[in-house]
């Protein structure tokens, strides 16, 4: 532990302002980050019979429910795509967002015990949630590709869809979702630390948010004049874009994308700054 410069000096004083992020500390604790990712991933489905298979089963079951309720009963159109693929693609981005949001929004309260005893950059914990959920996302992507292959080559619907050339930008969309869920989650985490009301709200927020996002319906169902309103929801574009990239159907435009990315940046900045501010003394108020 003595790999410090000789003139190392840590100054503890009441912090002023919002912008002191201490990213160097974050970098020093990168090993902790990956151990936490490991912990989240390994411990999640311990003592279950199906184990990690749940990472795949969960979205499949949701897709099944969606297919029956929204596809067969409510008959919401799916842009002419096979409903199973449509919902799977929509859920891909959405469940990554929802799960990361849920684990980051509880960060401060859930770890109060640990945070009250030892210092490490608090941001490590929500970041680890972003990364461990990314692994789950990857597993779901593989599942999706299996279904994609089946429908493409072994069913009559195969002609109606295909990858779009834009798929090279896929990682950027994932990055946007990661940033957005982190930002929103951090905001809520800071609010929850102060007002416990938000513990109960976060479940509703995520439910309502899903219906405001084109997961179970295509954006093309919204009248053109109103689409910009839907796009104000920063999750709209990422979900729609993923569908467009993987299935070739979807409403995507440069203005919409710019708006969505701008909203994401705003959320992320707010989240990190508020979290950073609250994190320093929140232990006095939990």
């Amino acid at each position: 532990m003595s790999n410090l410069p000789a003139d190392y000096e840590l100054v503890i004083r009441p912090s002023r302002g919002w912008l002191h992020l201490n990213l160097r500390d974050l970098w020093r604790y990168r090993d902790l980050l990956f151990l936490l990712v490991h912990r989240d991933f390994v411990a999640k489905y311990k003592q279950t019979i199906l184990g990690p298979a749940w990472f795949i089963l969960q979205p499949l079951l949701t897709t099944l429910v969606f297919t029956v309720i929204f596809g067969k009963i409510a008959k919401i159109p799916t842009d002419g795509l096979p409903p199973v693929l449509f919902y799977l693609a929509g859920l891909l981005g959405w469940s990554y967002f929802a799960q990361t949001f849920q684990s980051t929004s509880g960060t401060l309260v859930a770890n109060a015990d640990l945070f009250g005893k030892v210092y490490f950059p608090r941001l490590v914990v929500p970041l680890s949630a972003v990364i461990s959920n990314l692994l789950a996302f990857a597993l779901q992507l593989v599942t999706f590709l299996c279904f994609w292959t089946y429908f493409k080559f072994f069913s009559t619907a195969g002609v109606s869809f295909g990858f779009s050339g834009a798929i090279v930008w896929f990682p950027l969309v994932v990055l946007q979702i990661a940033g957005l869920s982190l930002g929103v989650g951090l905001c809520l985490s800071a609010l929850t630390a102060k007002y416990r009301d938000f513990t109960y709200l976060s479940g509703f927020i995520i439910q309502i948010w899903m219906y405001a996002t084109p997961v179970i319906y295509p954006l093309s169902q919204i009248p053109e004049g109103w689409r910009w309103v839907a796009v104000l929801n920063p999750m709209t574009m990422p979900v729609e874009t993923i569908k467009y990239m993987l299935l070739g159907q979807g409403v995507v435009g440069p203005f919409y994308l710019a708006l969505s990315v701008a909203m994401t940046v705003v959320f992320l900045l707010c989240g990190v700054l508020v979290f950073n501010k609250i994190e320093k003394t929140f232990i006095d108020t939990v």
Binding site: A43, L114, K117
Partner: protein, 419 residues
């Protein structure tokens, strides 16, 4: 002299008391509304100041590298707050601290362990939480496992561990941190006596062998006096005394008032070892003699003019009896470094049924040496001394003396008339 490794300059910490902590949105809104209204009138709301509390007030001190510092004080004196600020868990309200080295806190045992992960995984995780990187943990891994004695269970989830194994593993990880500054807060309150000894030994080795600085907070004055060179005494958030361990401890003990929450105060001069015949004191009948053998150990100096007092307290915190050795005998003299016992023999004290706790107080002349409260002392059974098959029930007093009840002839003349 080199620059101090820890410099604490005028540090204060304010807490807001009461409802602030668990305030909901509605309360916050109401408060805003109230404040605005009262601002309209003269003055403004005084309520905000009433609920303030300074856990630390203008505390300043410095610590040199390699020193072992003890911080003592009653509950609520600000010890934990100071440690929290030093370990960067929270920020001071004002003041400044400079720390020239890496700090690690010895956690409350097992904080940060994940029950589903194996011992091996938890060593890495816990080490990283405490600030080690993977390479450092790897190089210490075998030592940690050996210290904790959990070789066989490395790949078992820690939720299957016995509590003893859990504690050992947690301490082992922390003990091998090798930071420049180690902060220890009351962790020694857990674990069996042997393990505690091992922990103290490890801490001593860390301090003396490797030139590390240790800041140790404890109620266990015995441990403080053996480990620490210098002691800071906090009182109501202020630094009340600082200096060589023995001096500060002695003045602290003399200043203690009865009824404080700390229930064990011992000096290096006289150490309380325990009630050496405790086993024979369960299931005592109320008219039996009560024998208490109080075990002590003297330190580096011999003691003369020693007297030892006891007090027995019942379940409801009432004093049942109070005896002083000077009532019945001359003061005692004990050579240095000696184990000895003082035997109190109470002739059929007739205690009411129930458990009793003991307070032991020892002093040489007027100099207080040892004060131990809340010792589990004895249990008096409900068996009646009067009728072998009966039991004593609903006794309100603290004693049931031997007594008789007889019918006597009426003498009429002795009545005092109530007019």
């Amino acid at each position: 002299m080199t620059r101090p490794i820890i410099e604490v300059d005028n540090v204060s910490k304010r807490y807001r008391l009461g409802q602030f902590n668990a305030r909901t949105l509605r309360e916050e809104a109401e408060r805003l509304f109230r404040r605005r209204r009262s601002n309209g009138k003269a003055g403004g709301s005084p309520g905000d100041h009433e609920s303030e509390f300074w856990a630390l007030k203008e505390v300043s001190f410095s610590v040199q590298q390699g020193e072992v510092i003890g911080i003592i004080g009653r509950n609520g004196a600000g010890k934990s707050t100071l440690l929290k600020i030093l370990s960067r868990v929270t920020e001071p309200t004002s003041g400044l601290i400079r720390i020239r080295g890496r700090v690690a806190s010895l956690l409350e045992v097992g904080t940060g362990f994940h029950p589903e992960l194996t011992g091996r995984e938890n060593i890495y995780l816990n080490g990283a939480i405490l600030g080690m990187n993977r390479a450092e943990i790897k190089s210490k891994f075998d030592e940690i496992v050996a210290f904790a004695e959990v070789e066989k269970f490395l790949d078992t989830p820690v939720k299957r561990y016995s509590s003893g194994m859990y504690v050992r593993l947690a301490f082992a990880v922390a003990a091998h941190l090798e930071p420049d500054i180690l902060i220890v807060d009351e962790v020694l309150a857990v674990g069996d006596a042997e393990f505690q000894k091992k922990c103290l030994g490890k801490m001593r080795a860390v301090a003396s062998g490797l030139g590390r600085t240790v800041v140790f907070v404890s109620h266990n004055l015995q441990a403080v006096s053996t480990l620490c060179e210098r002691v800071f005494l906090l009182e109501q958030g202020k630094l009340a005394n600082a200096g060589p361990a023995d001096d500060v401890l002695r003045s602290y003990i003399t200043g203690l008032q009865p009824g404080v929450e700390d229930f064990r105060v011992t000096t290096p001069l006289l150490r309380w070892r325990g009630l050496q015949n405790r086993r024979s004191l369960d299931d005592l009948r109320c008219d039996q003699d009560l024998m208490l053998e109080l075990g002590f150990e003297t330190g580096q100096e011999s003691i003369s003019n020693l007297h030892v007092d006891i007090e027995l307290v019942d379940e409801r915190d009432r004093t049942a009896l109070h005896c002083k050795s000077k009532f019945v005998r001359e003061p005692m003299s004990i050579p240095s470094n000696t184990n000895f016992a003082v035997r109190y023999l109470l002739h059929s004290p007739h205690l009411a049924p129930g458990p009793y706790r003991l307070t032991v107080y020892a002093a040489a002349g007027t100099k207080e040496l040892c004060w131990v409260e809340q010792i589990d002392a004895c249990r008096v059974s409900a068996a009646s001394p009067f009728f072998p098959d009966d039991v004593l029930q609903d006794v309100k007093g603290t004693t049931v003396p031997g007594f008789s009840v007889d019918l006597v002839p009426s003498t009429s003349s002795e009545y005092v008339e109530v007019s």
